[in-house]
């Protein structure tokens, strides 16, 4: 996995709460058996005026001029500013894959849905929870100032504005450690293979019906 230490990037404000994963990447694109190539279809139904199909060249499709990511000032944004309960709904990891493939590295919101939040960390994407008041302020600034950038420091757990204000955020130690070092967490877990085997052997004794059932 790609490591994440620091990132500075242009902020795109998406002013809408309860953005669900169907909205982030609609179902017709889930038919792919790959992890890449979802970027052109990120927010497909909001971003384009027509209905997108897999394997279509999206560069020729009619854009919705009202959608935030289509405004020239937000081109190449890599920090997505969002509202509460971002990523609710389906567990599809295609959602963080699409955000990543588009070029986002950080998503800031007052709250995230659990599964989506978790999926982000597996893909080198950093979801940051900040208080609603702070998010409101960032929305105002990002909309008011063209070219508004934020700096995110995972080591220090801070978000820094162009004016030099710094906001701290929480992230649990294990996820932070994996992300900072770009660790493959399957590898980390397998370091405990002996423990897992011991547990499993015990379980075979106490709950034998859980093994080889229906085979």
């Amino acid at each position: 996995m790609r490591a994440f230490t620091q990132h500075k990037g242009l902020v795109a404000p998406m002013d809408r709460s309860n953005v669900d994963t169907d909205m982030i990447i609609p179902k017709q694109f889930l038919k792919s058996i790959k992890r890449t190539g979802f970027g052109p279809n990120l927010f497909d139904a909001l971003r384009y005026l027509d209905e997108g199909q897999p394997d279509q060249d999206s560069s020729k499709r009619p854009l919705n001029p009202d959608f935030v990511l289509n405004q020239p000032r937000y081109r190449n944004a890599s920090v997505l500013l969002a509202r509460s309960n971002f990523g609710c709904g389906s567990s599809r990891e295609h959602a963080p894959w699409a955000l990543d493939d588009y070029g986002f590295r950080v998503i800031i919101a007052p709250s995230f849905a659990d599964i989506f939040y978790n999926n982000c960390f597996k893909n080198g994407l950093l979801p940051i929870v900040l208080e609603e008041k702070i998010v409101d302020k960032l929305f105002q600034d990002a909309e008011a100032l063209e070219g508004y950038q934020l700096t995110v420091d995972l080591e220090a757990k801070t978000v820094i504005t162009p004016a030099g204000e710094s906001f701290g955020f929480e992230v649990d130690d294990f996820r932070r450690h994996c992300l900072l070092n770009g660790l493959d967490d399957i590898g980390v877990t397998l370091e405990d293979a002996e423990l897992i085997k011991t547990y499993e052997d015990q379980r075979r004794q106490t709950a034998p019906w859980l093994f080889d059932a229906g085979q």
Binding site: S17, N18, D20, D22, M23, P26, K27, Q28, L30, K31, S32, I33, K34, R35, A45, E51, D55, R83, S84, N85, C88, G89, S90, S91, R92, E93, P96, S111, A113, D114, I115, N118, N119, K122, N123, D172, D173, F174, H177, D184, D185, I186, T189, L190, D192, A193, L195, I196, Y199, E200, R203, A207, P208, W209, L210, F211, D212, A213, G214, Q215
Partner: protein, 472 residues
């Protein structure tokens, strides 16, 4: 010391390692796999040259992409070549790694969350995961069951464990008795309407109270299924006699002495009387009416006797904008009566409501009646091949067909419209599924979530009606 909640017990029983940083390794007893969220996980295993840790813990079936007509053609019946590749890929992966798969032509094929319980592959006390958020369904059996992403599917395949942080405990108690014509679906929609789509975020929800205890296993599954729509990855119900009776004799369930030992353990799977929950919400079952969703989020629900809300009356500006946006997308007017909403299609199916009791409930309403002429389509999609066979043995298929509903083959179908079944732009659908997000059932489609009997009543009337009037 306070007693343990059901969630605490399940967590403690599966804890392999508590790490200093607050994360934990949790052992997974069962993984269910389907074609959409597994291909990248198998590919990851291959690239890292890893093998599945424990093959017999896995069970697979294709469900999202399968067609619901012409099943006799098997995989060849999948018209969309991309869908076909996905279903074929699941087959190849399962064959390569030796994982049991109910393939498209197998009578046991169906929606993963229907076939697990049906086979007894879902047993009380298990930890169950699947790359699908509605895995919470299995919590109805006193399981710790939740949806995971594809990276975690790969993690479980490779290690039989998940890295988890312990969630908080939440109790949703539905007291008293439900009124006539009020189902598990109405209960869960009412709960989501009350606590909101983020009301359970970060929590494992246990559903309790007399109204829940009185429900059948299928009703409990409907409720746990939609825990995720309240923001909770996990929904659970304590084990009782109803649970054990349901599990007994199923193909994967223990037999003989193992059965007795299992039952003894399962009987302990309930929260202790002195257990403490971080959050408790109570509802009065008798007050719950048949529910209809009017908006684009499952919390946007109303009683069938009620009206669409008026955004002008909402004080919170973000909520007001949400309501305005939803009404625009749904093509509804503020204050419009729910029973004034006209429908184009009706869908009875999905992992929320496609089990035999759901079909019986719908059939009881349409029996001897006809689907309204104004409807373009009304379809019934059973949750599995075995549900279909059971319904046919009971003659439910005849009742549906005579009333003018289509009787289909099992799969996810119009719940998310990855196969050929979908809504046209602007069409309203009474649907027994779980998500009314924009475009969920087709580009520009308008979904209203309801119970099977409410969907059946809507099919007969062409607009929403209070099913309780038809039951009298």
């Amino acid at each position: 010391m306070a007693g343990k909640t059901l969630y605490d017990k399940l967590w403690d029983d599966h804890l392999v390692k508590q790490r200093d940083d607050g994360s934990a390794l949790i052992y997974i007893d069962r993984q269910l796999l389907h074609e959409v969220t597994s291909p990248q996980a198998f590919e990851g295993l291959r690239l890292a040259k890893r093998k599945p840790w424990r093959i017999d813990a896995n069970l697979a079936t294709p469900d999202h992409n399968v067609p619901t007509t012409d099943r006799a053609k098997g995989i060849e019946g999948i018209v969309d070549p991309v869908s076909k590749i996905q279903v074929e890929t699941l087959g190849k992966n399962c064959d390569e790694f030796g994982i049991l798969e109910f393939k498209i032509m197998d009578q046991r094929q169906g929606i993963v969350h229907v076939i697990g319980p049906e086979q007894g592959a879902t047993l009380p006390g298990m930890t169950i995961v699947c790359g699908d958020s509605h895995t919470s369904t299995h919590g109805a059996f006193g399981c710790l069951a939740h949806g995971i992403g594809t990276s975690e599917v790969e993690h479980v395949l490779a290690t039989q464990c998940l890295v988890q942080q312990k969630m908080k405990n939440m109790l949703v108690k539905v007291n008293g008795e439900l009124g006539k014509g009020v189902t598990g679906k109405d209960v869960v929609l009412a709960i989501i309407g009350k606590i909101g789509t983020a009301g359970g975020t970060g929590h494992a929800i246990e559903f309790g109270g007399q109204a829940i205890q009185n429900l059948s296993m299928e009703g409990r599954m409907t409720i746990c299924n939609m825990a995720i729509e309240a923001g909770a990855r996990v929904g659970m119900v304590a084990v009782d006699g109803t649970t054990i009776e349901y599990v007994k004799g199923r193909p994967f369930a223990p037999k003989g002495d193992a059965w007795d030992a299992a039952v003894k353990y399962w009987r302990t799977l309930h929260s202790d009387v002195d257990a403490v929950f971080d959050k408790v919400v109570e509802l009065d079952g008798a007050e719950i009416m048949p529910q209809v969703s009017w908006g684009t989020s499952p919390e946007m629900v109303a009683d069938v006797t009620g009206n669409v809300p008026d955004p002008a009356k909402e004080e919170d500006p973000i909520k007001r904008e949400g309501i305005e946006r939803a009404l625009k997308y749904m093509g509804l007017r503020p204050n419009q009566a729910i029973t004034d909403i006209k429908l184009d299609r009706v869908f009875i199916g999905s992992c929320t409501n496609s089990r035999i009791e759901d079909l019986r409930e719908a059939a009881a309403v349409v029996k001897g009646r006809k689907v309204a002429g104004s409807l373009k389509q009304a379809m019934v999609v059973p949750g599995s091949g075995l549900v279909k066979a059971q319904a046919e043995a009971e003659g439910l298929d005849r009742i549906f067909i005579e009333a003018g509903l289509e009787w289909r083959d099992p799969g996810c179908s119009m719940c998310l419209a990855m196969n050929a079944d979908k809504l046209g732009e602007g069409e309203h659908c009474a649907s027994t599924s779980n998500r009314n997000f924009e475009g969920r059932q087709g580009f520009g489609g308008r979904t209203h979530l309801v119970s099977p009997s409410m969907a059946a009543a809507a099919a007969i009337s062409g607009h929403f009606v209070d099913v309780r009037e038809l039951l009298n």
